[in-house]
């Protein structure tokens, strides 16, 4: 395999509804943004593309991928559609990486979108819940927020995690998004606001849960030679990992923890793993990516993380999967202040001042979750952080991290059925 770099990225503004544009137009907006950022990249130099969107139900248009490709003017070059629930964007990013790493393409465009406003929210919930076993799960619950609420209730039972710790994640991510013009929800909240908002699935409230969105994102990936011709600041993709797990939450077995390089067997004497409190697929993806990128101590070697926070609870669970802290310590990890941005005032007293910012963009909770675009959106925001170009793209540099040489992006489907982790580093 040869080295692969991200050379540019773009996102459309994420919004509740975009009746002014079809999905092709939204993809084009993000694609044009990315193209304009690397003027030396000519349209003719793109060898092919990968399309990312989750649900045919939302678009009510089969083969939507090719319609975006022809709108972008990328026919008759290669394209395929990637689909894997919430992890669709992350899988798409990695599929584009594979196209370049294998030598098949010099430049590959990864684009993704979702148009979730075409049905009312409750119908949207139903469509999303069809991504659970339709013999045994959908007809009983039919609601992803319910599945995640069951997971976090067990997490709270096993580890003593509190609802206030969950709420801190929401306060953090909404506040981070306050400075991100692409985010759907930019709000200054308190823990009380989160807890007092409408209960959706006990103990998760409306502000613990991401929203549905319309939006698109594009990443442009290239081989080393082309990357340095196009930009002085390419970002190298140094690690990729993908994990899977059983679709039915109820089937998750009880075995031993897969240990991260910074952990010992004795750390988890009595922990039944993954149970319903942890994501084995997330751990598997993380360990693969760490191995490939040479990361042995993630907390010290990674500068920031953009992870799939569809729920405040899943952000806490994911700290643990990624070995940012030990299994069970996710609640304490956020309470201590580690995943906050050091330069932002959250209106809370935090013991530690943000050592490893998580979701500096605002994450899914605040940016929105147009499923097929989400994993790619994270790559774009991480790319800008590492390039040091946040001010240029956001119009304000407040969210620029001082040290952002190595970032981790994480995309997650189902109740942890597909998870991808990719590691991006300063390439110049």
């Amino acid at each position: 395999m040869r080295p692969v770099y991200m050379v540019s990225g773009g996102v459309s503004k994420f919004a509740k509804a975009r009746p002014d544009a079809t999905f092709q137009k939204m993809v084009k907006e993000s694609f044009d943004y990315a193209m304009n950022d690397v003027p030396k990249l000519k349209h003719s130099m793109i060898d092919g593309s990968v399309a990312s969107y989750f649900s045919d139900h939302f678009t009510r248009q089969l083969m939507a991928g090719i319609m975006a490709v022809d709108y972008l003017g990328l026919c008759p070059k290669p394209n395929k559609r990637i689909e894997g629930g919430g992890a669709t964007g992350g899988l798409c990013f990695q599929a584009a990486w594979e196209s370049v790493a294998s030598g098949r393409m010099k430049v590959c465009a990864a684009f993704g979108f979702e148009v979730m406003s075409h049905v009312p929210t409750w119908k949207g919930n139903e469509f999303i819940a069809l991504a659970s076993d339709v013999n045994f799960d959908y007809p009983v619950g039919g609601f992803y927020s319910g599945y995640y609420a069951m997971m976090v209730n067990r997490h709270m039972h096993e580890f003593g995690t509190t609802v206030e710790q969950l709420a801190m994640v929401s306060v953090k991510n909404h506040m981070n998004a306050y400075g991100n013009p692409y985010a759907q929800k930019r709000r200054k909240l308190t823990i009380a606001d989160v807890r007092n908002s409408t209960m959706v699935a006990y103990p998760l409230t409306l502000l613990d849960i991401c929203v549905m969105s319309d939006g698109a994102a594009t990443c442009l990936l290239a081989d080393e030679e082309t990357a340095f011709k196009l930009t002085d600041h390419p970002v190298k993709i140094t690690g990729v990992g993908t994990g899977t797990d059983m679709m039915r939450l109820s089937d998750r077995p009880h075995g031993e923890v897969m240990l991260a390089p910074n952990e010992k067997k004795s750390d988890y004497k009595n922990l039944k793993y993954p149970g319903v409190h942890s994501f084995r697929a997330g751990r598997a993806a993380g360990l693969q990516a760490y191995k490939m990128a040479g990361v042995t101590d993630p907390l010290k070697q990674i500068d920031f993380v953009e992870l799939h926070d569809a729920y405040t609870s899943s952000e806490i669970q994911t700290y643990e999967d990624l070995a940012l802290c030990k299994y069970g310590d996710g609640g304490k990890f956020v309470e201590a202040g580690y995943p906050f941005m050091p330069q932002i005032d959250y209106g809370m007293k935090l013991p530690k001042k943000g050592t490893i910012p998580v979701n500096p963009s605002g994450g899914l909770i605040a940016c929105g979750h147009p499923v097929g675009a989400t994993g790619l959106m994270q790559a774009v925001f991480a790319f800008w952080q590492i390039q040091g170009s946040i001010k240029k793209h956001y119009g304000d540099g407040e969210l620029q991290l001082k040290k952002a040489n190595r970032g981790l992006i994480h995309s997650h489907a189902g109740t942890g059925t597909y998870v991808t982790v990719s590691i991006m580093e300063r390439g110049w």
Binding site: R60, F136, G141, F143, A149, M150, S250, V276
Partner: protein, 143 residues
């Protein structure tokens, strides 16, 4: 100009087959809770699967106990459109003695989520008129 938005009704009657899982649903009609067990590994699934994930072999149908414990739970105040009219409802993952995996079901009886405790004993009840759905079984507190 401002965008033109039209409504498009979309209704389908699916002929959904439970396939190899059918005996589970037949079992519910007969007030039996069926899981599966691998004859080689002894691994037992509360939610049946006809192939063993450990060895790939074919599993056998076994009858599950009709009492268990709450492994975890939630109360859904909202849901997918199809279930909105049933809210609020409690979901539980049921754990059974001697069974390796869990079963997703509804819990009836308790009013508030605060009334449900992880580890509490619950027992199976069956709907009188089977709808051939997994909700033909539900659980209630056993004590």
């Amino acid at each position: 100009m401002s965008p033109i938005v039209i409504k498009q009704p979309y209704h389908i009657e699916y002929l959904h087959s439970y396939g190899q899982d059918s005996p589970f649903f037949a079992g519910l009609s007969n007030k039996k809770l069926l899981g599966t067990k691998c004859p080689k590994c002894d691994y037992t699934w509360a939610t049946p699967r006809l192939a063993c994930t450990q060895c790939g072999g074919e599993t056998d149908w076994v009858e599950l106990p009709q009492t268990g414990r709450v492994h975890t739970f939630t109360t859904c105040y909202f849901g997918g459109e199809e279930f909105l009219k049933e809210t609020p409802f409690h979901l539980v993952l049921v754990e059974f003695d001697g069974v390796d995996t869990l079963l997703l079901s509804r819990l009836l009886g308790p009013e508030q989520p605060e009334d449900i405790k992880i580890g509490m004993k619950i027992k199976a009840k069956f709907r009188r008129n089977s709808q051939l759905k997994p909700t033909d079984v539900y659980f209630v507190p056993a004590e």
